[in-house]
């Protein structure tokens, strides 16, 4: 059994999970929803085992390091954190249907990594040889994942709110009827973001501490750093916006989606389009 095989099984489980959630939306059968959650959990366990196995494999070939060092490994880890945050929200708040809008993000990541990327284990260049790699990457990606979940919930919010408006006061039927009420979606969006925001803050701080330890500058306005700050500003604006009446609901949902778009640009766009310290994604 190799880690690569396990990653394929996890990817396939997420596909099953997503299809089950979509079916759940259409037929509203409780057992179908359960299949969706169980498939996601099964995938998560296999996914975790695969990450550990890959960690071991890197030691077996003599360049042992945590599997968090290149684009492939980070995308795989990002997918793992998305399912983790989804699992927490699913178990705690029991709004299963959220899976239909969150699991696709994880599936997309895994499919991209498995089909489109070089999965070879590479040795660590000197700059990455530090325990800070672990702290920095884990906190950042848990934060990103919480924002991904918030984004999925915000999309649900906008669909539901749009339907509610066009249907007037009449009960909206069909797929939308399965969604939690917009009040709950608004609250879940906020809850996901208050998980993500402190994690992103920690991610930026561990990055700054690492940079200070490695180069003697905790902040250098490098594009990646700047973009992480941009993301931080957007979610800080979101949190403040919740205290004023006009900014809950639709505006908050849009801000959450904009925040996640900025997060994705911070993660991938900066590496692909701009140059800087975190250049592994650009192949350079």
């Amino acid at each position: 059994m190799t880690s690569s095989m396990l990653f394929n099984i996890a990817t396939f489980s997420y596909l099953i999970s997503m299809l089950a959630f979509f079916t759940f939306l259409a037929v509203k059968g409780k057992s179908v929803g359960l299949v969706g959650s169980l498939a996601a959990y099964f995938g998560f366990i296999v996914h975790s085992a695969a990450i550990l196995l890959r960690w071991k494999e890197s030691y077996d070939i003599g360049m042992g390091h945590a599997p968090l060092s290149n684009l492939y490994e980070s995308v795989v880890f990002f997918a793992w954190t998305i399912i983790l945050i989804f699992g927490i929200i699913d178990l705690k708040y029991k709004y299963r249907v959220v899976g239909a809008f969150v699991v696709p993000f994880a599936l997309l990541g895994m499919a991209w990594a498995q089909l489109g990327m070089d999965s070879g284990i590479q040795p660590l260049v000197p700059a990455l040889q530090s325990n800070w790699l672990l702290y920095h990457v884990i906190t950042c990606f848990l934060g990103y994942a919480a924002f991904a979940v918030a984004c999925g919930i915000s999309i649900m919010y906008l669909i539901k709110a749009g339907k509610d408006e066009s249907a007037g006061s009449a009960q909206s039927g069909g797929i939308i009827a399965m969604f939690p009420s917009i009040k709950i979606l608004d609250d879940l969006n906020y809850k996901a973001i208050i998980i993500g925001f402190p994690l992103l803050t920690l991610g930026i701080i561990t990055g700054a501490a690492w940079a200070n330890y490695a180069w003697g500058t905790y902040w250098s306005w490098d594009p990646k750093e700047t973009w992480s700050l941009i993301v931080w500003f957007i979610y800080a604006a979101f949190l403040h916006a919740r205290f004023t009446r006009g900014w809950v609901g639709k505006k908050a949902a849009i801000l959450s989606i904009v925040g996640f778009a900025a997060t994705i640009f911070c993660y991938l766009g900066v590496n692909l389009f701009l140059s800087g310290l975190h250049s592994y994604g650009g192949g350079g």
């Binding site: 260049v125 700059a127 701080i205 490695a214 500003f233």
Partner: protein
């Protein structure tokens, strides 16, 4: 006159206190920060200038886009942001402090109506014994209460984590602390750079900002610099052995400094940053034997040096490579290209000898057979040098920020009131955050009380 003045000041104060300003500033800071990630920062390279028109260049220059994050208007935004944070906190803090330090101890009928969670019980017993029972109950199940007597009724008040209300102000304070730390660093610290050749030492480094020399007050020597590689050819480790000498005393002796493991002395930290070969300072080693036999001679020769060999001819090293396969794919390892000039002059011979193939040169058919034994190249190590006395203030700010976030997001100020009358007990509750969660806890408390 005074009234309009006062009106203006009040408007200004309200402007700086407003949440709208806070949201606008956050979004404005996010949006403008993007500029500096798209336009190259620092002196623009000529290739870039060719891609933009002169008008655009002048425009960018005027707005300071090439040093975006130090431009007057970006700094102004940051100042506005700071003033906004301070003003907001000053305005709201007294009210929050009052809620913490002077809680409502008495739940009268009017106050009861404002609470969303209340519950009435009929209970046997006089007020005093019920009071004692309720005090014990709150102590055991929630928190120790404050008891107030009014008009023959007893009012109990208990609360948990009141200070979590300060979380948001702790976060605001942390931002100010981080800014102060950054200012201390920029006024009293520096970022510098130094290159030291192996075997030499220095006590002067050069400031990155203006290239001015800075006297360290002690001496740093580079004893050795080495690079190691993975089998794939990717660099594995850059290492300098540094010796620090202060007042004639060795403080650090041959301390290895690698990337991600700097050396700090007297608040000044040295980071392994780069390296380069010191041209002309390398030493190369060869073995030369005569074809007709005899003991082989070991020779060492510097770049540019001409050495006389046993038969009177002279040799010199033209170039060396650490990995020859890049140029000659059939061979691997280090190689040297040398020139041998026969005694008394004549046409010089130029050929390559390989470290991994010591017998190779025999095929050339010359009277002397050369083999390459490797080199000892002198290297320069490049060190970043940083002094930042504000960094601990920044870390303290970061710690405050994380602590403040946790207080603000994950803790809530929960309060329980109990009013005791003869034969009647009323429970009231409120939480400033996570109402549904608190409702569950409140319901559980009511159930427990019912069982008593």
């Amino acid at each position: 006159m005074t009234t309009s003045n006062r009106g203006f000041l009040e408007t200004l104060w309200d402007f700086f206190c407003s949440l709208k300003l806070a949201i606008s500033l956050l979004i404005l800071l996010a949006a403008t920060s993007i500029i500096g990630t798209i336009i190259p920062q620092g002196p623009p390279p000529p290739e870039y200038l060719q891609t933009i028109s002169e008008g655009k260049h002048k425009f960018y220059q005027a707005l300071g886009f090439f040093d975006m994050y130090h431009s007057w208007w970006f700094i102004l935004l940051l100042y506005l942001f700071t003033v906004n944070i301070v003003a907001c906190s000053i305005k709201r803090l007294p009210r929050v402090w009052k809620a913490i330090s002077e809680p409502t101890l008495v739940m009268d009928d009017k106050f009861e109506k404002t609470l969303s969670l209340t519950h009435d019980f009929k209970m046997n017993g006089d007020a005093a014994s019920l009071r004692d029972k309720m005090v014990a109950f709150l102590k055991g199940e929630f928190a120790a209460p404050v008891v107030t007597e009014r008009d023959g009724e007893f009012h109990l008040f208990a609360q948990k984590t009141p200070y979590s209300r300060l979380g948001v102000y702790v976060v605001h304070l942390s931002i100010i602390v981080i800014f102060i730390g950054a200012l201390i660093g920029s006024f009293f610290g520096y970022k510098a750079y130094v290159e030291i050749a192996e075997g030499t030492s220095t006590s002067v480094v050069h400031n990155r900002a203006d290239m001015k020399p800075i006297d360290l007050g002690f001496t740093v020597r580079c004893d050795k610099f080495t690079v190691s590689y993975y089998d794939t050819g990717a660099p594995k480790e850059f290492k300098s052995l540094l010796t620090v000498i202060d007042g004639g005393k060795v403080v650090f002796d041959k301390r290895p400094v690698i990337v991600n493991d700097p050396l700090t002395y007297k608040g000044i930290t040295f980071y392994q940053a780069s390296y380069r070969p010191a041209e002309g300072a390398g030493l190369y080693f060869f073995t030369v034997r005569e074809r007709k036999g005899g003991a082989p001679a070991k020779i060492s020769i510097q770049q540019g040096e001409r050495k006389v060999l046993s038969d009177g001819s002279t040799m010199q090293v033209l170039e060396v490579a650490q990995e020859v396969s890049k140029f000659i794919p059939q061979f691997q390892g280090p190689a040297a290209r040398i020139e041998v000039t026969p005694k008394g002059g004549g046409a010089p011979q130029v050929f390559i000898v390989f470290q991994n193939y010591p017998e190779f040169d025999a095929q050339r058919g010359g009277d002397l057979i050369f083999s390459y034994d490797g080199s000892e190249e002198k290297m320069f190590t490049g060190l970043q040098v940083a002094k930042d006395p504000g960094v601990w203030v920044v870390w303290a700010g970061c710690f405050l920020m994380v602590a403040g976030c946790c207080m603000a997001f994950f803790m809530s100020h929960r309060r329980i009131w109990i009013r005791v009358r003869k034969g009647e007990v009323t429970l009231g509750g409120s939480a400033n955050k996570n109402q549904p969660g608190f409702q569950l806890a409140f319901d559980a408390l009511v159930d427990k009380l019912k069982q008593q």
